[in-house]
Symmetry: C2
Subunit: 371 residues, 2 copies
C-alpha cells in the first residue's frame, strides 16, 4: 500500500469541515504507527480545535491516555496543511506535535498565510522532527482553494454561477429567465450558497427579481449535525439601490447587506454601504469584502455583473448549469465579454467536475492558478 493513502484519508477527513471552517482552511490529520492509523481528526469549525489536536485526542480516546502516549511517541503524522506556528483561537499545533514525540510530519502544502508559510516546519525541524512537504500537493491545494485565494490574492474566493440553454442563452429578449434549469438544478444551487459567505448580484437583478438570496437547506440536507444552523450568507449588491420597495425581500428579517457603488449609497439598518471613487472599483470592493470576513462569494448575475467579473479576470470557479433547450437568436447571451483575437488566445478554464440533474448538466470549472 502506498503511503499517500494516509494523505488521501487526511483530505477526506478535512472535507467534513467544508461548510463550517471558513475563514479557516479545511484540515485533516492522520497519525500512523507501524503502518496503522492510531488517530485521526479534522478541524470541525472555526474557533474549534485544529486537526492535529483532534487526531491526538482520538488516539487517547481509542487507546486510553497511557497507551496513547506510548503509541504517539515515534509516530508519523500526515496533514494536508503545514501545522500552525502561531496562537489564534488555539495554541500552536507544532507545540503539541513536539510534546507528544511525533517523529515525522508529512504535509501536503505549506500554509500560504504569510505569518506562517514555513515557520511551522522550521520549528518542527529545530525540535529534531523529520518533515516532508508536497505529498498530493495538487489535491491539497484544490481542497483549500478558498483559503489559498484569500491568503494569496487578498480577496474572497469568487464563484460565478449561471444557468443557460445549450446555446448559451440566459434569458429571452424580454428578460424572462425563470425555469431555464430544472427543479433539481435549482435545489443544487442552494448547496453552492451553503459553501459561501456571501451572495452577490448586480443592482439590476436585485431590482428586477426582488430575490431573497437566502440558503434554504436544513442541517439534514447539508449533512450537518442535528440542529446545526449555518449562518446565512451576507447579501452583497454591486451598484447602489435606490428603490428599496422593489427589493424588500433582500432586507427581510434584518438580513445583513453590503452594497458597493460609486456615489452616495442607501442608508438603512444592517446595510453597510461602501463608496468608491474609481469607476472600476470591483477589485477594491472584493478586497474590502475579505476585510469584512467574506472569504467566499457566489455571483449569481445578471449578465452585466457576470461580465464585469470575467472582464476583470476576477473569478476562481465557474459553475454552469446547461438546460437541454435551444433559446435561439433573439435571446440574451450569458457571457458578453470581449472576444479573443485568436481562439488560442482564449484562456482555457479547467473542467473540475460534471454532474447531471435529469437532462441538465452542471459543469464546474476552475479558473486561473493559485499562485
Amino acid at each position: 500500500m502506498k503511503e499517500s493513502r494516509f494523505m488521501l484519508r487526511a483530505i477526506e477527513l478535512a472535507r467534513k469541515g467544508e461548510l463550517t471552517t471558513q475563514p479557516n482552511p479545511m484540515v485533516g490529520c492522520v497519525i500512523v504507527k507501524n503502518n496503522t492509523i492510531i488517530g485521526e481528526g479534522w478541524h470541525q469549525s472555526y474557533g474549534g480545535h485544529h486537526a492535529e489536536v483532534e487526531a491526538i485526542k482520538s488516539c487517547k480516546k481509542r487507546f486510553g491516555a497511557k497507551q496513547a502516549l506510548k503509541l504517539l511517541q515515534g509516530s508519523d503524522l500526515y496533514v494536508n496543511l503545514e501545522p500552525c506556528s502561531i496562537t489564534n483561537n488555539t495554541p500552536p499545533c507544532v507545540d503539541a506535535v513536539i510534546r507528544y514525540g511525533i517523529k515525522r510530519v508529512v504535509c501536503g502544502t505549506l500554509d500560504p498565510n504569510p505569518r506562517i508559510n514555513g515557520a511551522g516546519i522550521t520549528l518542527l525541524k529545530k525540535a529534531g522532527i523529520k518533515t516532508a512537504i508536497g505529498m498530493l500537493k495538487k489535491e491539497c491545494e484544490a481542497l483549500n482553494r478558498i483559503f489559498f485565494i484569500n491568503q494569496k490574492k487578498a480577496r474572497p474566493y469568487i464563484i460565478l454561477k449561471a444557468a443557460q440553454s445549450l446555446d448559451g442563452k440566459i434569458a429571452l429578449r424580454d428578460g424572462a429567465s425563470s425555469w431555464i434549469s430544472n427543479s433539481l438544478s435549482r435545489q443544487d444551487t442552494h448547496l453552492l450558497r451553503a459553501r459561501v459567505k456571501g451572495i452577490l448580484v448586480g443592482k439590476n437583478t436585485a431590482l428586477s427579481d426582488n430575490p431573497n438570496l437566502t440558503m434554504r437547506l436544513d442541517y439534514k440536507q447539508l449533512g450537518l449535525k442535528k440542529n446545526t444552523a449555518l449562518p446565512q450568507p451576507i447579501k452583497i449588491i454591486l451598484g447602489n439601490l435606490t428603490d428599496v420597495k422593489s427589493t424588500k425581500n433582500l432586507f427581510a428579517k434584518n438580513a445583513k447587506v453590503i452594497i458597493g457603488s460609486r456615489g452616495a449609497g442607501l442608508q438603512k439598518r444592517n446595510v453597510e454601504h461602501i463608496q468608491y471613487l474609481r469607476k472600476n472599483f470591483l477589485e477594491e470592493f472584493m478586497q474590502d469584502l475579505l476585510k469584512r470576513g467574506v472569504t467566499s462569494i457566489l455571483v449569481e448575475g445578471g449578465q452585466e455583473t457576470m461580465n464585469a467579473f470575467i472582464s476583470n479576470n476576477l473569478f476562481d470557479e465557474l459553475v454552469l448549469y446547461t438546460a437541454p433547450i435551444i433559446l435561439g437568436k433573439n435571446s440574451l447571451s450569458g457571457f458578453n465579454s470581449e472576444s479573443p483575437i485568436k481562439i488560442k488566445d482564449a484562456s482555457a478554464l479547467k473542467l473540475q467536475k460534471v454532474e447531471t440533474f435529469n437532462s441538465d448538466i452542471k459543469a464546474t470549472y476552475f479558473a486561473g492558478t493559485l499562485n
Copy 2:
C-alpha cells in the same frame, strides 16, 4: 434474479453489431433453459445470419447437435426485436424458432417495419408458442433508434454535431473555428462518423474548409475484427457546389458524393446531384437519401445548415462538444434558430450521455419521439 437480465444480455449482444448491421437493426438473442443461458448470438453484419439463428448455432456448437436439439425443445428465447416473418437475405427467423420447438418468445419491441409489425408474433402464436412483448421496451427502442426512425419517418437518422465554447460560440467573427475542441474530442468525432452512412455539410462549409469528410479510424480503434474495413460514409452536400477546385478533398479517391440543391447541379463522376423545385427541400432530400440506402447521417455544419435542420425539426440526436473557453460577444453563435415566445415553449431535448475529454464536455441529447 430478474428475468430482464436475459433481455439486458440480448441488448448487450446486439450492440456488438453497431457499426456493421445498417440498414438492418441491431439484434441480440439469448436462449434459456431452466434459468440458464444455453445459446446466444447477434446479428453481426448486413446480409449475415439473424440473431436467433446465431443463438441456435451457438447452442449446437456448445452442446453438440444432438444434445442441443433436446435442450432447445421447450426453451425460452429472448430477443430485443420481434423475429422476422419474411425472407430477405435469409429465411424468416420464426421458421427456425418453430422448428426447434422453442416454447416461449419474449421480445423487447415489435418490428416497426410495416411488412412485419406483429406478423412474426402472429405466426409464432399460430404455432402454439407463448409470446410476450415489451420487456425493456425503452431500452430496446433506444438501441435501434436508427432503424425505428428509418421505418417510421422514412428518412435517415439525423445526428447534428457541433463544437462550441462554453458561451455557445462556434467560431470567431472571421470564421476561425479550428481548435475550439481538443484533440481527444476531435478523435472522438471519428467514432461518430463510423456510426453513420453519410456525412453532410452545407456548401459554404465545403467551400471554405475543403474538408475530407472521411472516417479515419482503423479496425482496432473501432473494436472490429482484424482487417475489417468499414465502408467510408457517403459525402453529402446541401446546396450546389460551383467551385470544384476549392473542394477537391471531397472528391479525392473517387469518393461517392451526393449533392442536393435547387437548380442544375455539378456533373462529375461518382457525384449524384438531386435537384429540387421547392425552396425548402430538406425533408424531401432526407427521404431521397434513405431511398439510396443512407440510413443515418452526421450533420457537421456550418451554422446555416445546422439551423435548417433545427428549424425544420429534422434531427434525432444532438452531439455537443463544449470547450472550456469563452469566445465572447463578437463571435458566431452555433445556433441561430428562432427564439420561443416563452421558455416553457422551447422543446426540451433529453440528455442521454455525458462524457469528458480532458476539459471538453461531450453531451449527447436525443430529440423527439420514435412515434
